[in-house]
């Protein structure tokens, strides 16, 4: 059997196990609480930060899932859980039909399939490694001989638009932010992953370099058959990159659906507030009041019922009592809001029809 890392013609599609209809990643009931005191009798920890509190989502093969949401809502934690950098308290992660950590897909094998690019391009590079050693490091750890690993690093450098002759021997401090981020991308690709998680991977770049990196990400995706989970605060960028968008609020999914629907006619009031908060492009028409009032609630003691009810313009008595389930409002668009659910009891919800035609 040929080693995928040694074989330059290795085709990620050839590793496809479940076929096109099988999501590449599917996550159910993901939970991660930080800190807090657990009583000796077990059970729920008291005072814990409920960073990720029951999250379900799937990413189809070849798709880009954009992830947006309030600072602190659990996006990075979700990414780190998917990457298995931290252990979930509960939940299941299934990769191409195989449960992660099962006998069919142990952690080491899984870690080759999924890679991550972090926001901070500088902190995530070892200052004492040259660019080529940085990129070759992962494959070397996985047992690839030095020569091959270095050759592969040079190919990847060329692929991300950095001429190997000029850049291979440089150290991180000798690079600009945009160049460093391209090194991070090259490093993430060195193990030929199928899923790449990009956590604010372009937000530190200037707009011209950002545009280059985004174009590059689209090219690499097409060329290598990649699937992306793309976390960003920049809604313009998400609109450009994502096929579907997942909106998170306080450890839960608020809304998920096709990118053009979510970013143009959102159903969840939080998504609406998020879109309304985008900076103005007209100096004579500046934002005078923040569209979202109030403070983000405490993730240690989140509001009852709908977690957004304390800040929602349409809140009604029922919202404090009934946690809205994430339910489809139309095919492939799911919303966790009682207003969107016929017969929920919210005054603005449509009445329930007995025999919907």
């Amino acid at each position: 059997m040929s080693d995928p890392i040694l074989d330059p013609t290795f085709d990620p599609a050839a590793r496809d196990r479940g076929g096109p209809a099988q999501p590449l990643l599917s996550v159910t009931g993901l939970v991660k609480h930080f800190g807090g005191k657990r009583s000796w009798r077990g059970g729920e920890a008291k005072g814990a930060v409920r960073a990720v509190d029951g999250v379900d989502f799937a990413i189809a093969k070849g798709e880009t899932l954009g992830v947006v949401g309030e600072s602190g809502c659990g996006k990075s934690t979700t990414a780190r859980l998917v990457m298995q950098i931290i252990k979930p308290d509960a939940g299941e992660i299934v990769f191409d039909g195989e449960a992660v950590g099962s006998r069919a897909l142990d952690l080491e094998a899984y870690r080759r399939e999924v890679q991550m690019v972090f926001q901070d391009s500088y902190a995530s590079l070892n200052p004492r490694l040259t660019v080529e050693d940085t990129i070759a490091f992962g494959p070397r750890v996985h047992g690839v001989p030095r020569r091959e690993a270095t050759g592969r690093a040079h190919d990847l450098l060329a692929k991300v638009g950095l001429e190997p002759g000029r850049f291979a021997g440089r150290y991180p401090h000798e690079l600009s932010g945009g160049q460093r981020q391209r090194i991070n991308i090259a490093r993430a690709l060195a193990l030929q992953p199928r899923l790449v998680i990009l956590d604010e991977a372009v937000s530190a770049l200037d707009k011209s370099v950002e545009a280059q990196v985004l174009n590059l990400l689209l090219d690499l995706k097409a060329e290598l058959g990649l699937t992306y989970m793309f976390i960003s605060h920049d809604l313009n960028v998400v609109r450009f990159m994502a096929d579907r968008v997942m909106v998170m609020y306080l450890g839960k999914v608020a809304e998920v659906g096709p990118s053009d629907v979510i970013l143009q006619q959102p159903s969840h009031p939080y998504t609406g507030a998020l879109l309304a908060s985008m900076p103005s492009t007209d100096p004579d028409n500046r934002t005078l009041e923040a569209p979202l009032f109030g403070d983000p609630p405490n993730p240690i003691d989140p509001p009852s019922g709908c977690r957004f009810h304390t800040r929602c313009r349409h809140t009604s008595a029922i919202c404090a009592n009934v946690p809205p389930p994430l339910a489809a409002v139309r095919p492939s668009h799911e919303v966790a809001c009682l207003m969107a659910q016929p017969g929920s009891g919210h005054p603005l919800a449509a009445p329930l029809r007995e025999n919907a035609a």
Binding site: E70, S71, Q212, P279, D282
Partner: protein, 345 residues
């Protein structure tokens, strides 16, 4: 928060003024000219947005204003006056009071501001105690007030967090609180909202506008985001390769950018630029080598409108409108752009 103590600067004089500021890094094989002659003025209560290419010297300029550059490896030229004082001449003790007390900085990398091993609230309280000689209790009280001011949820509990226990956005807000702790007159904000979601970002931008209005806080705000600059800036300055290539009234620069680099920058962010399935427009080429800056306009090698005269010398600042100047020879009377015909279309 009370207003900063009265300024020794007579009204009408700028709070910050740099003249021909240069910074050379001499640590490497060849000296790097990171800042190549920057003139910047800032009045009380004024907010200037500093835009520009990655590596163009924005952060280094801010660091020079606070004298934070490594003195052995960086040579600073020209003059910097802040609040009526020559920054280069400040003694050790004065410098310590100056940093934080007169000028405070919000860093681009949140990691730089906080010590990972101490609680965030204690670090803010510590700064207040050191600067104002007050008790730990009043230091903590101020920290709490600041946390509430920058809208950190459950402020009282969050004071006890270690930096790693906060999300990126929350750490950024804590850093703003730290910068405001000693009631500075000038705030240097290096991309303070890039890590924040839109709802929090707009809150922070409105907060900065409020502090500016209420306390006359002067702000230099580095950002890559033209929308953000549009929301907060009175004036805009655009940097390229260590120089300010265009500066002026916010409206003028945004509506009628005069320098080809600024135009490229604004184009790449126009609303239609983000149509799915298209490619994003980029400025072709790469930024110049700062160890060997070209003799003339540093943008010329990437500029679609460049002509031989561009490399003759660094273009002077030429008026593009009443409140707005740019360093581009196309603004010289009688100089005709090659692409004028197509640009008009």
């Amino acid at each position: 928060m009370s207003s900063p103590s009265s300024s020794p600067v007579p009204t009408g004089q700028p709070l910050v003024e740099t003249k021909d500021l240069t910074v050379d890094f001499t640590g490497g094989a060849r000296p790097v000219r990171a800042v190549a002659g920057v003139d910047l003025t800032l009045g009380a209560g004024e907010l200037v947005a500093l835009l520009g290419e990655s590596g163009s010297g924005k952060s280094v300029t801010l660091r020079a204003l606070m004298r934070l550059l490594p003195e052995r490896r960086a040579t600073t030229g020209g003059s910097i006056r802040v609040d009526g004082r020559d920054v280069a001449a400040l003694g050790r003790k004065e410098l310590a009071r100056f940093r934080g007390g007169t000028v405070a900085m919000i860093f681009q990398e949140p990691g730089l501001a906080f010590d990972p091993v101490y609680r965030v609230g204690d670090q803010i309280a510590e700064a207040v105690m050191r600067h104002e000689g007050v008790s730990r209790r009043s230091g903590r009280a101020r920290a709490l007030e600041l946390f509430e001011r920058v809208r950190i949820p459950s402020a009282a509990t969050r004071l006890d967090n270690y930096p790693h226990e906060m999300s990126g956005g929350m750490r950024q807000r804590a850093m703003i609180a730290l910068a405001l702790a000693c009631r500075p007159k000038v705030l240097l904000a290096d991309e303070p909202t890039t890590a924040l979601d839109a709802t929090v970002q707009i809150q922070i931008l409105l907060l900065l506008r409020e502090l500016q209005r209420e306390f006359g806080l002067a702000v230099i705000f580095v950002t890559h985001d033209i929308g953000v600059a549009t929301e907060v800036a009175d004036r805009i300055a655009v940097m390229y390769a260590g120089r300010i290539v265009e500066r002026g009234d916010c409206r003028d620069v945004i509506r009628a950018p005069a320098h080809p680099y600024t135009r490229g920058l604004l184009f790449s962010r126009a609303d239609h630029a983000f149509t799915k399935g298209t490619r994003l427009r980029t400025i072709p080429g790469s930024p110049p080598d700062l160890t060997a800056l070209p003799p003339g306009c540093a943008f010329a090698p990437r500029c679609a409108e460049a002509m031989p005269a561009c490399s003759a010398g660094v273009p002077e600042e030429i008026a593009a409108s009443e409140t707005h100047v740019a360093r581009c020879i196309l603004l010289r009377p009688g100089v005709q752009s090659r692409t004028d015909a197509t640009a008009a279309a």
